[in-house]
Assembly symmetry: C2
Homo-oligomer: 457 residues x 2
């Protein structure tokens, strides 16, 4: 067999020409979204005030297997795609494992993460429809940065609601979004009714993703010809992110490789859902036995400690309801939690797959995550984002298992982004001041107790 290079970078013509819609091949489809006013199954038109039409259609489309990537989107993809599939030879050596470790690296663009894949698609469809401006929310800042870039490219005004505690911790994240022309507002803010209500109760509120979503959605529906876009959780986002998995599968094919296990970090699920999509199809169709492992933080354990139920996507309860693993939309991870992966729910697609036993999940401590990040950086000279380092830790554990069991398995993980803007968290870790927080059962029961009562579906 050909020697496998360190980096397998496909050429431009290998960028898939269509996204893959995993729902088309799922025997159990994700449960439908519900209209928050009627609690009835949401129709496409119900989504139009929030999302542009094409994206509303993609959100609900569970039958079209492949959806063509528009030429304008492809033109921007070509600036940074295909992303490399990298063989982590040095990490393998360091771990003394017989396993082969591959990672799909999505951090080689200025946004620094995979989020750009969906940001481009969403900005394009909005522009095509003649939408005048967009709103969104961002937590750690990767999504906001990616969308700022996409909007700058398509010349679309953008308003980003950034979780206040995060915007204070990461002034440079704010600066890079502004540099691409976005207007960045710390959330909760006084610019929306949702924000004002929270500030009236608690003027010092540091915000949450759920609150920022409420503010962004409210702004979209109350502003002339404005729409809302979201960086994870949604079906449309997983659809766009399928490009990660399609490219990874193509690159592995070139070397006659196929993963025995795929590991990804899981916040809202966009990267993991995109990475596993074509491999999951093979498993659903009985063509492969690949294991899929979601790695989440113990401080925000939606899969491992949440419930599978209908919930709102936001704190303000103005978004459609989705059936997903959730900690309750009022859940907020402890302030000691670094980086992203802080959303209360999980992608309905991944939630369904997990519920059906097609995917595993583990929850890990962030101090272990940063240890894995530093090991990886030294061996492979890429400084990972804390989010991405959850996947590294998961892959390292699989590789160690392979060593103990003497198995030469093929491990693939998603390295979603770089940690350039996370040096404050790295410093806290390096000074020995990082702590781990595991929510108590009482805390989780409290936020789960207030889940909406949905009996009709």
């Amino acid at each position: 067999m050909t020697k496998i290079p360190h980096r397998i970078t496909l050429s431009e013509e290998h960028i898939p020409s269509a996204w893959y819609n995993l729902r088309a091949d799922m025997p159990n489809k994700p449960a439908p979204m519900l209209n928050p006013k009627t609690l009835e199954k949401a129709r496409e038109e119900d989504l139009y005030p929030v999302f542009c039409k094409e994206l509303s259609h993609q959100e609900l489309d569970e039958t079209t297997r492949f959806i063509d990537i528009p030429g304008e989107v492809m033109d921007m993809y070509k600036i940074y795609r295909p992303s490399p599939l990298i063989r982590a030879y040095n990490l393998e050596k360091e771990l003394d494992t017989p396993a082969k470790i591959y990672f799909k690296f999505e951090g080689n663009n200025t946004s620094g993460s995979h989020k750009l894949n969906s940001a481009i698609a969403q900005a394009f469809y909005a522009k095509k429809q003649g939408v005048a401006s967009l709103t969104t929310e961002t937590g750690a800042g990767q999504w906001g940065t990616a969308l700022s870039e996409a909007c700058a490219y398509f010349k679309l005004p953008l308003k980003v609601f950034m979780v206040k505690s995060s915007s204070q911790q990461k002034p440079y994240r704010k600066a890079i979004m502004e540099n691409f022309g976005a207007s960045v507002i710390a959330s909760p803010s006084s610019t929306t009714a949702a924000g004002r209500a929270i500030l009236a109760e608690d003027p010092q509120n540091g915000g949450s993703l759920g609150t920022a979503i409420s503010e962004a959605v409210e702004t979209a529906v109350t502003t002339e010809n404005c729409r809302y876009v979201l960086g994870s959780v949604l079906n449309q986002v997983l659809l766009h992110q399928s490009i990660i998995g399609l490219e990874a599968m193509e690159a592995m094919k070139l070397y006659d490789e196929y993963p025995d296990v795929i590991v990804g970090c899981a916040g809202g699920g966009s990267n993991l859902g995109g990475l596993i999509a074509p491999f999951m199809r093979d498993r659903l169709q009985g063509k492969a036995k690949t294991r899929f492992v979601a790695v989440e933080p113990i401080s925000c354990p939606s899969l491992t400690r949440g419930v599978f139920a209908y919930d709102y996507c936001d704190v303000g309860k103005i978004t459609p309801l989705a059936k997903m693993y959730t900690l309750g939309c009022t859940f907020k991870p402890a302030s000691s939690h670094a980086g992203g992966l802080r959303y209360h729910g999980m992608s309905p697609i991944l939630s369904q797959l997990y519920h059906d036993g097609m995917m595993e999940a583990i929850a890990v401590e962030q101090t272990r995550v940063f240890e894995a990040a530093k090991l990886f950086a030294r061996c492979e000279t890429i400084l990972p984002a804390p989010e991405s380092a959850h996947a590294i830790l998961g892959a390292v554990r699989e590789a160690v298992r392979c060593r103990e069991e003497g198995r030469a398995e093929t491990i693939l993980f998603g390295l979603t982004g770089t940690g350039y803007f996370d040096m404050a968290a790295y410093s806290v870790f390096n000074q020995g001041q990082m702590t781990d927080y595991r929510p108590t059962d009482e805390e989780l029961e409290k936020s789960i107790a207030v889940l909406p009562k949905v009996t009709k579906m």
Copy 2:
């Protein structure tokens, strides 16, 4: 002809197996280094206390045309190389130019710049010789980051003297170096005689590259089995950086392209020297008429306003003397100067080529540089380092000239790195608070007046 893709990424086997030593093909060699004590031509042995043997040899070797890249260096190169050659289609469209604009992008690694190419080589040779630890200096922080990564990879302890004003402005640069295990000391420091002397005169001294070099060299020669390494200026560094030009030439060949003009930013000259090396050979041999344009800041204009003379490489005058374009080793750019490109001298190789009329140079205002950076980021979705944006501005001006003259020239420029750690400077620019400073003739005369008197050579 084949359609030219957006990104031409060669595969691993296209990484050149040897560095190219341009000196071997220069009819007028750069003037020899001088021993600072005797002012005689430095012998290889004279350099041993400062550099390890192999690098001392490379520094003085002006006849060996190609020098093999060791396997261990190649193994680390393969993690991030070959770097892509990108066609800036969107920038061309925005400028409405008939020119084709290519850039060789060296920012796709955690160090965020081309500096890693030489850091790996220098760390490897030191490790191979059994050196116990390394010292260096860093200004903007790119070199220190790159060397920290290389030292982490080869498990070599490293002490970095970071210009104090820069370490205060960029705490995260310090953090990333520490994250890779380096010890970072703000310069001037009390740990060296050179530092103490400066602090005694001026306790508030914010430091300079020249001072940091003095401290690093002093530490190397007074510490058991320790050596000094430098990220630019030196002949050995340009040798290692030739990999940029060799790859660029190979990638262009694939599409039957050849640059009419090559543009690079110029601080110490490492990236520009590496990028142009094989193309300059063609010109020296009469095979091509490519123009070479160095772009430097008006605040630190060594080529356009300096003198071609022997000077020390450091403020403390303990390094060998080099003949180069220099503003005098006591010159410090104004505090309003953002980013790197703040060294008082220019690579002896580039200085000789410029002196011989083989290269042009322009000096530009930083406010124009940041404008070009933002334009480029919007079009090509890569946020450039301020240093790299000097090259962008130079390329934009060439492309505009092509439009005005109706010429479809091929422009190649070096995009040396990303601006993730430069958001503070971007913010100053975005707030309209960035200023331009052009040193007065009197200022330059003052620092040039104290050049060493070298009459022997």
